[in-house]
Subunit: 502 residues, 2 copies
């Protein structure tokens, strides 16, 4: 057993010292991802990718359960397609990676250069409405072909100027659902239904409470009639847009000529929707739950639920301690927790016990158990939970541990959600006059400000400039709460959420 006298435990800097840098350090300490030599792109490492695999597996079920089928469209989009919907190209032109050649050759000095220019350049998809709209126009002929309900898991490239791991990267992974319907109502209902799927997933699996609502016009997806969003509050009180769903009206069906013959024999344009969530959710997860000691993972999406830490002081104990660890691991792996069997790690590295324990605490694993000679003898485990202090550990019998592990994990899951809900409540304020709004967002302050607003985009623009805040959403659950606009005193049908945002 090696000593761990000079063990560095907490994350430096802390959240209050430097929140953005704390975020980077959390990712590094948990080994979730790293920056790559490709501008703004990340390498998602195994511990981070396993979180994404859990998100994928769970969400995929939800997407299929609501009648959607997975398929796959090309990565590349002909440049001319991007122009078929006017707002769409306006919104994405600045972020398009352009493929212009299809070969490499060597110049006179032996240096590689692009060769064989393409007749028409291709864009790497920044989203797939354009390539999918083109396909829908071929697939849809009659009302009998509708609705079309499809989804794809894919990589996306948007050439972002300022990037941050998971939150905003040039390449990211996501799912994008695309649907076409015979009526506006159906397409609208579809987009609201999928926002519900996202909201339930965020709360039930990521333990991240969200506000569902509609975006104001200035924050809409380029080409959408309405954009719906789920907004979460991070620990620096900023909002994170965690998922969006768009009612696209007939914008794309007109741009791409998606027409159908109705039951009455009339030619009509279809109504479409699209919706997506991305690896950004992992950024949200990190900033919702982690503390100054590292990552903290909700059990339902953690890559592993329990780590077993053998503590071997004398070499002669190794065999019995390891056998006891293996036996517990096997017992745990039989247990079914929500949608999968428990996943167990055994960390047999020959490093100091404190260093080993802390490395998993920083990785956010929900439960760790230490097993030494004493535990083997007494048939117990020495257990600690990630949502409690590192030193708060207790001895429980093996039997009791096996019997209660599911309840412990459910309790951790609930605790994380409760904490996040309490934090959001504490930092959400109803604002009824303009001075209070300025005070609320002064300096480092902030949170969610429920504020009546008359709907004027000029006011939004002014607030963005003066206070760095935007309207995150017009919440669904405030629709029957009329009042007075704090900016003009005019009647306002319902308050909106102002906040600083990622």
């Amino acid at each position: 057993m090696k000593s761990s006298k000079h063990l560095k435990t907490a994350i430096s800097p802390t959240r209050s010292e430097n929140y953005p840098e704390w975020y980077q350090q959390i990712i590094k300490a948990a080994d979730l991802a790293e920056v790559s030599p490709v501008r703004g792109c990340m390498i998602i490492k195994p511990w981070g990718f396993a979180i994404w695999e859990n998100i994928q597996r769970i969400l995929d079920k939800g997407i299929k359960a609501t009648g959607h089928k997975n398929l796959y469209f090309p990565l590349l989009i002909p440049m001319s397609f991007m122009q078929k919907e006017a707002e769409h190209i306006e919104g994405f032109a600045k972020e398009c990676a352009v493929v212009t050649h299809h070969r490499l050759a060597k110049d006179a000095e032996g240096k590689l250069i692009p060769a064989s220019p393409l007749e028409e350049p291709y864009i790497i998809r920044p989203t797939s409405e354009a390539i999918i709209g083109d396909a829908f126009s071929r697939w849809v002929q009659s009302y009998r072909d509708l609705p079309i309900l499809v989804n794809q898991w894919a990589n996306i490239i948007r050439w972002e100027m300022r990037t941050r791991l998971f939150l905003r990267t040039t390449e990211f992974l996501w799912q994008e659902g695309h649907t076409a319907h015979a009526t506006a109502e159906e397409a609208m209902q579809e987009s609201v239904k999928m926002l519900d799927v996202y909201a339930r997933f965020a709360e039930e699996y990521l333990a991240m409470p969200v506000i569902k609502g509609e975006k104001s016009e200035s924050e809409r997806f380029p080409g959408a009639v309405n954009t719906y969003t789920i907004e979460a509050m991070m620990q620096d009180k900023k909002a994170l847009q965690a998922g969006t769903s768009h009612f696209l009206g007939q914008h794309f069906s007109r741009g791409f000529n998606i027409k159908y013959l109705s039951a009455e024999g009339k030619e009509e344009f279809a109504w479409t929707s699209s919706w997506g969530v991305s690896t950004r959710l992992i950024g949200g997860l990190i900033m919702t739950h982690s503390d100054d000691n590292g990552l903290m993972l909700p059990p339902k999406v953690a890559p592993a639920h329990v780590v077993i830490l053998p503590v071997i002081h004398k070499e002669e104990d190794r065999a019995t301690v390891m056998a006891y660890c293996e036996r517990i691991a096997e017992e745990l792996r039989q247990i079914y927790f929500h949608d999968r069997h428990l996943e167990i790690e055994i960390d047999a590295r020959d490093i100091a016990g404190g260093e080993k324990g802390w490395s998993w605490y920083k990785k956010g694993i929900p439960v760790r158990i230490e097993i030494g000679n004493k535990e083997v003898g007494a048939d117990t485990v020495f257990m600690g939970r990630r949502d409690k202090d590192y030193k708060e550990r207790q001895s429980v019998t093996r039997q009791e541990f096996i019997k209660t592990i599911k309840a412990e994990l459910d309790d951790i899951q609930s605790q994380l959600l409760l904490r996040a809900q309490a934090f959001r409540k504490q930092n959400t304020t109803v604002i009824t006059n303009l001075n209070d709004l300025y005070d609320f967002f002064k300096g480092e302050g902030g949170g969610f400000a429920l504020t009546h607003w008359n709907g004027d985009p000029a006011i939004e623009a002014k607030m963005k400039q003066e206070l760095g805040i935007t309207i995150r959403c017009i919440p669904f659950d405030q629709q029957k709460n009329p009042g007075k606009c704090v900016f003009t005193g005019e009647h306002s049908p319902q308050p909106v959420v102002f906040a600083k945002a990622y």
Copy 2:
């Protein structure tokens, strides 16, 4: 009930009439995929993509069970990285899609043009050795960091001149495993081990028998020391390379500076391997099992196992027939078959029974059952199997059907493998003199020719030119079978497989 007098059943053309066109028509009839407006890229449609999802789920387990962890590397590779391993760039230079700009703008006439040129162009990954080699050089410091065993599921772009759905497309989906080891032996064993994983998967799940072997030098992966392959025989007797695994020696570790400090304190280059299979497997699946009536799917990878076809002659029967269908579907969905519950489709479309039945026969679903008033009354189902003639159907009691469905599906799975094995055996010949080799491959003839060869690449080149055949592999199971080279009469340690190939 509508009539189906003029129902077109069989696929046109048949295999013997025009095999390549038959292949395209099978894909169309089963609605697996279609060509897209992006040169050489396909849209994988839901029925085709669900096969890929099954392949992914099963292989992913096999990859993880052998100790590998999934992660994700960037889509783009800096152009300069491609040059670090000399053979690698030679092999891929002609197929690289090059990203040169990161913005779109409008010219004076309002036409979109690429804008904001990149300082260094990026290549869309044609494979990821280069970007991963760079990361490994940072991740590997000491022998304690080895082995590194990782895998990613990703999309790939290779600018192919002649493309064919699934078999060779500009964009395809695959998994690529990448590993680094302290010794040559370990890296070599790793690459052979993963070939085994592929071979078992091909036979046990795709019902596609394969020959495992090593590639001759001319067929090696660009940058590999050895390339191992699994080769399958299609129904036109051509070979399909269905998966490869590469022992990369120290080529990439030298190119990318992947060094470790050994236990003895010496600085050494690591040894690496890589291995992959792609959506090409679906092409192999189609060409191994399908017949002149459509696709035929092995139950273990079929998107659904059973389709229930309600036959409603009188509207007043609808409710009872549908209730009976739903009940059977629910009973079936409780049954666990290999690694998932049975997946059941109910086709309630209001079209003629024959058309409906044939549409599923063409889609290759393993089992279909027709349910009409008669079946409801007698508590039976009217069952047909895809591996038997369309008209060969039988009435069985519902109870019996539920009790035996797993056995039926297992039998279909076995029958498909047995047929494919018999076909391969029938078309594999030991060739001991040169005239026989020419005769064997004359005109439309061919198959696998087990032939002794002295190892001279000039002979390979000549055979490629004269007979259009290549050495598919040097089979592992023929390693103790010396003989005489049919081209020179020289001693040959073992025969190789010559064949025409995709």
